[in-house]
Amino acid sequence: MSRIKNWLIAMGSPPHFYKWATSSLPWLAGLAVIVFCVGLTWGIGFSPTDYKQGDVYRIIYIHVPSAILAESIYIFMAISGFISMVWRAKIAGMLINSAAPIGAGFTLVALLTGSIWGKPTWGTWWVWDARLTSTLILFFLYAAIIGLHSSIENKTKGDRAVAILAVLGVVIVPIIKKSVDWWQTLHQPSTFTLTSSPSMSPEMYLPLLVCVLGFYCLFIFMLTNSLRGEIISRERDKSWVKKQFFKY
């Protein structure tokens, strides 16, 4: 337990994290590509056709993992924001800044793929339904975090501002999750629940689980890749960056 704690404390130091990230990036990339491709190929190419929706239901293998990731990334940012506010860990602010564009991207994918799926199933691209509207608000929150940080010249103050926004904004996540239960919506109930068994057959459900896992692996890889850039950008005047990155 103390080894994990020591490792986490060491990871809070930018030079240590940069060193770890540089050596781990090829492994993370390999793992992400394998799991992501297996999940998508299995889901889109080999899972059985749905008797009601036909083949269009295969959008689930892109839409659901993107939506889960969009919410998870925001929770991750809120936790980082809390750590940044309480312990003033420099890396936590960098994590929020690096994760926000990735989260915004996956929220956009969830919105666009949901819209494309809505056309053949609901007959419309968009409805101001509780689930769709709350996900749109999540996208605006990501955009606000990105905009707020880039508009503040002082990076420490910027980190503090986005940490507060990330922590306050996390209230949207349970609203998105519960929107299908609290309001009358066109959107189907949650695909993943902890309390009940899945309503889909295992042939459809298992590739979805692999897809979700693949998306998480992809996020870890993308975050590590982006965080390296963030660290170099902020610490470019430090001697360790000049030695390790610029090779002076």
Partner: protein, 51 residues
């Protein structure tokens, strides 16, 4: 083989919806991967020019 690939591509007329979603996903992933690389290259160029 070709027939089954064609069936997979067309998906009973629903193929364009599914493939459009995949294309959107790939574009978003590509943008998120390329931006940090461009950023690092820019920093490297600026720093080496300063030196």
């Amino acid at each position: 083989m070709l027939d089954s690939l064609q069936l997979l591509f067309i998906m009973d007329g629903k193929g364009p919806y599914v493939w459009a979603c995949l294309l959107i996903l790939i574009i978003v992933i590509f943008i998120n991967l390329i931006i940090p690389v461009i950023r690092l290259k820019r920093i490297y160029r600026e720093e080496t020019l300063e030196e």
